[in-house]
């Protein structure tokens, strides 16, 4: 048996002001699996992601990365296998220049210095920002900042990529590029988004979270095609997908993939 890339068991998380954001979540993401996380505002997506990445310590439950427990602030061992792109990019890019920021991860994780330049260039190229090396992150547009934030984790080649709301400030082209990038990867991916089209295009499986609990977990087309389920949890399929059931969505995805 091979262990899951990411496994969470019975996670409970309560913020210091007493608000319980996660109420008993268990989930597994297999190696190489692309999974989506959907849910209304305040459902607990960001909180869950931060627990999974070891930034928040749950009051109960455990998180394992390839069978290794992830410690908060502890060993970089388990953490270096996870690349997290935050919902708010303004503070994900904290270095004086874009180059320094993209180099930050690989340097911390001890990649050979000679390799780091190449990795930074490559990561920036993959997100279409090869011209931005010397710029101050603060002066990037929010879409450019999003791309740069994605490059900061691509550069150290994590085995699990976690993206929180990655398309919220991308233009349609940028969104399509991101979908293609995600589709071309072989790592495990966990994508939280309100953008159901992106989820459909890039994830085979979807988890629906609401009020801190996983309410559904299954094939993407089935869940996003289940309008009653979506509605019960304050979600809506986008205009173009409305009224399409699971089968119709499957066909649509297949067509879209073969075009893209």
């Amino acid at each position: 048996m091979t262990e899951a890339a990411l496994a969470a068991r019975d996670i409970e998380f309560t913020f210091s002001d007493g608000r319980q954001a996660i109420r008993g979540v268990s989930l597994e993401i297999a190696r190489g699996e692309p999974a989506g996380l959907i849910g209304p505002n305040g459902a607990g997506k960001t909180t869950l992601i931060h627990v999974l990445a070891g930034l928040l310590k749950p009051q109960r439950g455990t998180v394992e990365v390839f069978g290794e427990p992830i410690g908060v602030d502890g060993d970089a061992g388990a953490r270096r296998r996870i690349g997290l792109v935050f919902q708010q990019t303004e503070d994900q890019l904290f270095s004086p220049t874009v180059f320094d920021d993209v180099a930050f991860g690989p340097l911390n994780y001890g990649f050979p210095r000679g390799e780091v330049h190449e990795r930074v260039r490559d990561a920036l190229r993959r997100v279409g920002l090869e011209q931005a090396e010397d710029r101050v992150p603060h002066h990037l547009s929010s879409g450019e900042r999003r791309r740069a934030a994605i490059a900061t984790v691509l550069s150290f080649d994590p085995e699990i990529l976690i993206l929180d709301e990655p398309t919220s400030d991308l233009d349609p082209r940028g969104r399509r590029d991101l979908a293609r990038l995600l589709g071309s990867m072989s790592q495990a991916r966990f994508v939280a988004a309100h953008d159901l089209e992106l989820i459909l295009l890039t994830c085979r499986r979807v988890l629906l979270i609401d009020e801190g609990k996983i309410r559904a977990d299954g094939p993407a087309a089935e869940i996003i095609g289940d309008h009653r389920l979506l509605e019960a949890h304050g979600l809506e399929a986008p205009f173009g997908l409305r009224g399409l059931g699971a089968r119709a969505l499957e066909d649509l995805i297949a067509r879209e993939r073969s075009d893209g």
Binding site: H50, R79, F86, L93, P96, L107, N108, Y109, H117
Partner: protein, 261 residues
């Protein structure tokens, strides 16, 4: 690269080409020498020497500025606030010193005080200009990395780096907050009500900064940060660098020995 702070850091002059580590060291040597060279005003025959030494320092800085191809107007604009402040500080010297006074109308002006004021003002300007040239000819982030290599303590360097990255973010945020308040009908007036609204605004800026600090820390930890800021910067020493530092040492020695000549 910051469009304002690093505005002329991309030019190509011999000062730009120096390795920032050596450049900073040379600037530091000069600044220390200029500071150590104490005016000996009270023993009068040497007064003119003090003035010429100060003038020589300023001439050196101006020469370096011209050699750096940083526009003079830009440097003057950077200096203006500090110069104004200095002027306010020294303007009273001629009035409070007691020796060598002359009367101009009802004012008693001390020539010694005037001299001290002039020497201090000129030297301070020389130092500031030197700093403007040293910092203005290297990209700020590279200066920081050079300081790091020169073993300036890590926390200080990190604070300066974050200041460089976030100073303008905080300015912008402050401006946006004021815009948001105005957009909802707030008119800054003197009065208790506006004062209260403003203080609440400042409060939320501070809380916002704390939240931001936590988010930045999270972002750093998520990418393996363990207290040290890694850098790829490569520095290469050339003969010109050594010559520049040697030049600074020689000039400093001359300055400090001048009084014994």
């Amino acid at each position: 690269m910051h469009p304002e702070i690093d505005r002329f850091a991309h030019l190509d002059s011999w000062l730009h080409r120096l390795d920032p580590r050596w450049k900073l060291a040379a600037a530091l040597v000069l600044v220390i020498a200029i500071t150590l060279d104490r005016p000996s005003i009270r023993t009068d025959p040497r007064a003119s020497r003090d003035l010429s030494a100060a003038a020589a320092c300023l001439a050196l800085s101006v020469g370096l500025l011209l050699g750096s191809s940083i526009p003079v107007g830009y440097a003057l604009r950077k200096l203006a606030p500090a110069a104004g402040f200095l002027l306010l500080m020294v303007v009273f010297f001629p009035l409070v010193y007691e020796s060598d006074t002359i009367r101009i109308g009802f004012l008693r002006i001390s020539l010694t005080g005037l001299l001290v004021a002039a020497v201090i003002l000129i030297k301070a300007l020389a130092i500031l200009l030197l700093v403007v040239v040293a910092l203005g000819t290297t990209r700020f982030d590279r200066t920081m990395k050079a300081l790091h290599r020169l073993r300036v303590p890590e926390p200080l360097v990190q604070i300066a780096m974050f200041a460089y990255r976030y100073l303008f973010v905080v300015f912008d945020q402050n401006r946006r907050m004021r815009q948001a308040m105005r957009a909802r009908g707030f008119r800054p007036r003197t009065g208790l009500r506006s004062l209260r609204a403003l203080s609440r605004g400042v409060g939320s800026l501070v809380v916002g900064s704390l939240e931001r600090t936590r988010r930045i820390r999270d972002a750093m930890v998520a990418r393996g940060y363990r207290g040290e800021y890694p850098s790829l910067a490569v520095f290469r020493t050339t003969p010109a660098d050594v010559a520049a530092l040697a030049g600074a040492v020689i000039l400093s020695t001359v300055l400090l020995l001048w009084r014994f000549l």
